[in-house]
Symmetry: D3
Subunit: 339 residues, 6 copies
């Protein structure tokens, strides 16, 4: 069983610790992106994963590609070309100062790719699951076309389609996102939506008040999840992370899974957060791992949320953990010293 | 409207993270000092600010000066001369180990300056607010004379005088501090006093027990603030940060403002602290920004405490934040990721 | 009064901050080991301490030895020889991800030492307290023999024997540990046991459920401590740290001391943890300092737990704090800024 | 006397030491650009300099601007707007591996600026020297128009125009460069051309063989320089650095100045090079300093080449040296320890 | 055409710059080993290469493996198991202080592997060239057996055998090395020997005096090379780097190739050396690349020495360069800035 | 045989690599001083050495002291007290930019010590050689008195006195230095003088032109050395380093020794210099080692110059090398890789 993910990989530049850009004379270098993160997570958990993207033919593109290969991702389907690697500057927040992202991704090799550069019949041969996120769709109209082409191909070839809605307010508007969702959702089998994603990406109301207290709105979330299935009967699974966020460091996390008509709820984790980024991708990879290994619903949601909260302890976009580490969190909640 | 601040800028040397001096083979370099911090905060918030001091004519003095210029402070009135830049070694604490400062500031260019090196009629031309702290006064008798000269000049030329009492027990005694306050307070229009400052600097009792639980003693603080106005009728405003400190990382912050006879109380922030230094200076700059832009009392205290708690998330002495970042904290308490 | 400790010193390699080995291109270097940590703690608190071990005659061995000397430990009795310095890789955890240790200590100079390389009559001349931990015993049968030889010598020469049980599941089994304890305990005067150590090392049940909530099981711990004295009447003191562990960063710590038939309980510290390693060694050193200076039981347990929680704020294996810093925690719980 | 320079400032990202991008997990951060470098050099040598450019209104733009202010450059005329700060990745070479630059400057705020955004009559008020380089011209047609507008304004208002030809083969072709030169040279009073610049930028042959041995071709250089004056009689000064390059670390440097009909030759420096970048800008700033202070021709060329070779000892694009340090090189060739 | 290399990969720990272990509190992390270096070089030059080894199943083994994958090496044939990853500490020298290596490789997973763990008929399927070095042979008798088994298999299956003699005086004696050579050489088709290797590894005298002046002894080297062919007629190619070493930073490099009876000499490079390690491996990879692409003798030796001297400019064991970068050195000797 | 050295130890703060203070946001930390360097060199070469000084009783003083202990120096005679540790900022030069030192040593604990704080009869018990340098004498009149007291005590108790003239133009004038030399030289048995020291410190002309070409003036140096013996017959040995300095990185070093009437000349080293500081102290320690072990004149000068040039390869003030490493340089000139 093999998963392919489709998206953009970027260079992430981060001041050390929680320093600000204005005071930094060095940046930590990392490479990531939602779909690349999912591919790496799966590979590290022992699954077969492939990445589909376009990277420039220069040293930055080589470095991004090398990062994927290092962690075991199949990169045969990554095109090389275009003029630059997208960049984002990442200021890790602290306390009341939220983490801040400065995007510098315009004109990247992937953002300027044409939809017909991706020959899906060739790319998706041997693939069982196709994963993309709303970020890919937000980049350009051409990429939206490419996604739709891919989804149509999947529909005809028994490839499951997983769509992480992942709304990014700095990239497009809710109206644009919803217009895209209307087109793509009929092909989607599994959808992920957290916090504001339901309303912004899908146009479905899933909460009734402050998104920082998602855990307190479980019922309205469940109603929203059911509404997704109702509107898009091809979709058999909806999953969502619910969180109460107190500060950059301090929050509570849980997950809801609606699969084949049944709801599954994970335990609630009370967390000290080390770096709050890409945990949604880790969650998606956890769900996928569950599908690949035919987990039951409860095991799947417990595994996925454990993968997700473990990501909050790892620096960078990539969830550098193994299946056994995730299982250890599932079993006892983690935190013990291992010596 | 222009603010001038008068004080000492030092080289701050800090082991990385929360390491101790004994185990460090490198120090992070920063430049700061209470009054310089205020000037930088104002400049970054878009205000016109000037710094008055004396720095040595060597590469360390150049670096301190360049730091001020980088962030937009007017440095025309900084003298160059004397023999050295003051230094302080800064061990960031953790949990029960409080942050520790080793001063090495004796004999600095500023500490050895004579009072007549500062020609106030020339320096304060065009200035509307004159700010200094008790640290400047604690350095030497000559600097106390210089402050008094400046205050007298301000009194005659409609320049508002702001005095942050800022008591430092490693620099002088409460008796010395109070003797100075008696002389200078008749010229002061705005006074800032936190925690122990009331009693140590002003000789006025503002709390009744453990300073680590200031929030629980709001009433006695209010009484103390009223007493300041009673003793020094030239002073129209008293402001104070109240905090409950649980550990180096964990505390609650709030502020009280007594302005033209009315009390204003800010909300209370429950905080995870990244680096607990210079937040009083950030508070003072926030208050000044309020005066410069004619904030009402409630807006002023809310803005000032938001500026102050934001400083707790920034490494170094300087509050590297913009007005819009402060306002974002005021509006929703902060912590959200911005992408 | 002089303390000698007997154990292995290793090179500790740690990714920066809480990074993982997989993503690190540099490691922070430190040198430590339970018994070396105790010797350094004592020296920094002004006591006379000596270290007994074997280190390779190469640059790594020189560096380990130099570290001990830097902090004032007498290293005259450290043999040089054998083929390598033991190493351990240390991934500092965060939140639910527990701190992880990868040992690479097989074949080290100390691990391959023969029992007759340690001539106790010469080594222990002038020594009043002999300290070792279960880690030394876990390394090899030869070292177990060496410990027994040393203990017998101590018994005949009025040297107090302190045994920190320090069970390490990656090094030996409870059965092996208990077999050794049966042999050595008749010579031991002071025993330290935390958490699982009671059962794993001594075969005595001291808790009744989840070790992560030791504080909630004070009574069963007391029963276990009494049982130690009952089984080994030569042992006059038993001490134990009790903790409730919520996450890598967040826990509560307290200590129990049973000395000459009386129980002493320390206050409970609610802690944010900076680096959770070697606090048991710091506790042991605190107890020893109490014996050396004839503290009463209550002072002794309060001092030892203050030393222990202070260690949780210091990076590396060594508790780089002074007696006055420990006393400051005892007096007011710490956390205040000192300037 | 005031100098204004017009060009692009970029973020420079460099692996530490001479590491390669492929193996780096951090980049050193610096900000620079040919014309910014000249402005900073002049300010550090005590001259009045202003910078003209366009920077994005984000944290990267703020950082670039702050860097200029730190070193004393007047930044009042820097526009803010557009979408991004240009970036270049800089791999410092070693031995046979030449220093490598990966440009990522397309779409920058400056590169997308329109010529009419620069109102020269307002910008150049109070300016005596206007400096730009061929890099600015290579960026876009709009910027070529802006330069020509500025030059015309200078011609009418007695502002000296200095043009550093600075050919960049990765940015435009010799044909494009020469076409621009034909248009701009009639307004230029001082031209700088090194190595290949003569032929590539001006279409004038100045050497006869290997550019790595410029010192061996002094005569053909002189002929080329005379030809410049011949073709463009408005140009009174031509200056050129001549070098023999043996390896990244090892070369010989000298300079030729043709001013008002007379040739001046500097001494030859045999150099170990620490970082070989931006020394041409340092040379240009040295020449300008000479004009500002009315140096005679010999002093001017000696000062300029000393400034230039000193830059080879400084990391980053900016020549962080003072006039007295440059003069010390002129007097004794440098290298002595100063203590 | 595919190359397989067989050897040990180790963790390399290096103080920053040229610091000494005694003064370092961090080590730079790299992974390498002669045969791994060859495999990486080939992959980066676009060739198909596979690595054969055994790595422990822990985070260090994962990191080593990930490094190979990052740069495109096929790692399917790497066994996982055994107890530890070999380590070497690397002090980069300077001037008269030679680079110093402290080995800590005993007991590694590879060193303790049995010869029958390597099933050559399965491992070498599809392989055209089999490469190993004298380092692998020096590790253990089992590995010598494994090499001989592999060579016999190669002999029967038309796989070319390349042997880099690579004598290591800290690992075995000349007698041991020569005994092994006697056994293996009858199967070897290409042999590499530098400096002392001829005599120490092969027992053939190739120079007549100071090994630091190999370039001055070209004739005796040629005689030695011919003697190799004479003794081992199955060997069609002998290659050797000749160098004159003046100091750690300063030397001259050249190469000799004897192939099918003809001698080819490369140009001589006069070099400033950035990090003098693994250049022999880079040379070997260059030769192999020549065989894979059917270079003529002169092109092959020129390409190989260019690859080798380029390695001297790269930090770490791996030659992180592309074929086009090597060709650029061949063409003009390198050193030019590329912008 | 035991050596005691008397001088000041300082905190050295250095930008990384060859960066300038103006661009540095971290400083490397080291501790050193001429006489401390000598004591450490001797201890690392296996000799017994003690240090005499005064250090402040704070964390900086503890760190300096710990550094000495780490490398085996006896620190029993170091007083603790006074107000601060002296500091010097160290900008490592490159090429024509000489290394630059910014002193910040005024008011240090040692500089403000009184002569009677040093009770020589107690301090020098068991000492055979007493070493000090002109730097100690340059600090204060009180320290000059202390030196004279010590020398008188040595004269009466058969303790050899070694004086390294070490002139520092930033600390005192030649007149002051010569006045001191006149008083102290009658007690001195061994004197070291390099470059300008002869004339500036001793008032004896030893060269006739450019000090950067000392090697070319061997004869005049010899005459100066003989003149020292002539004027001060109590002095049996004069030693001097002669160097030709081409640039910060490139020079030639040699040494002359006049002992008991005979001249001994070392070989000449042509060197690439990594960090050019404290090599005179390394030379002095090498000479002392020669006296301690009764080397003949030729061996002594060869050993001392080898120690000295080895220091040029080590970062920091301390010569972190062993006797065997020095001997290896003596034997073959060094530079070979050791693996």
């Amino acid at each position: 069983m093999k998963v392919a993910t489709f998206g953009e990989m970027m260079l992430r530049l981060k001041p050390s610790e929680s320093k600000r850009i204005l005071q930094s004379d060095s940046f930590e270098v990392a490479y990531g992106g939602a779909e690349a993160n999912v591919a790496v997570s799966l590979a590290l958990q022992g699954d077969e994963s492939a990445y589909i993207s376009k990277l420039p033919k220069n040293l930055l593109g080589d470095s991004a590609l090398g990062t994927l290969r290092k962690f075991g991702v199949d990169t045969e389907k990554v095109h090389r070309g275009g003029s630059r690697l997208g960049i984002y500057f990442f200021e890790k927040g602290a306390s009341v100062r939220g983490t801040n992202v400065v995007y510098d991704r315009e004109g990247s090799s992937f953002a300027t790719a044409q939809s017909d550069e991706f020959e899906w019949s060739e790319i998706l041969t041997g693939v069982n699951y196709f994963y993309f996120s709303g970020i890919t769709a937000a980049i350009s109209n051409e990429l939206r076309l490419a996604i739709l082409d891919a989804c149509k191909y999947c529909g005809k070839h028994d490839i499951e389609v997983i769509f992480d809605t992942n709304f990014r307010g700095k990239m497009w508007t809710p109206d644009e996102a919803q217009a895209f969702s209307k087109k793509v959702m009929p092909y989607v089998n599994v959808v992920l939506a957290n916090d504001e994603d339901f309303e912004a990406s899908l146009g479905i109301k899933a909460f009734d008040g402050d998104m920082r207290h998602g855990l307190d709105q479980k019922d309205s979330f469940k109603a929203g999840m059911r509404e997704v299935i109702h509107q898009y009967p091809n979709c058999h699974t909806v999953a969502s992370i619910l969180r109460n966020i107190n500060s950059v460091e301090d929050s509570k996390w849980s997950a809801l899974l609606l699969r084949d008509g049944d709801f599954f709820e994970s335990v609630v984790y009370k967390l000290h957060i080390y770096e709050g980024v890409a945990s949604g991708d880790a969650f998606g990879a956890g769900l996928l791992h569950g599908f690949l290994h035919e987990f039951k619903g409860q095991e799947q949601v417990d595994y996925a949320i454990a993968a997700s909260v473990l990501k909050l302890t790892v620096s960078g976009d990539l969830n550098l953990v193994s299946e056994s580490e995730i299982r250890s969190i599932m079993q006892d909640g983690g935190s013990a010293m291992n010596r």
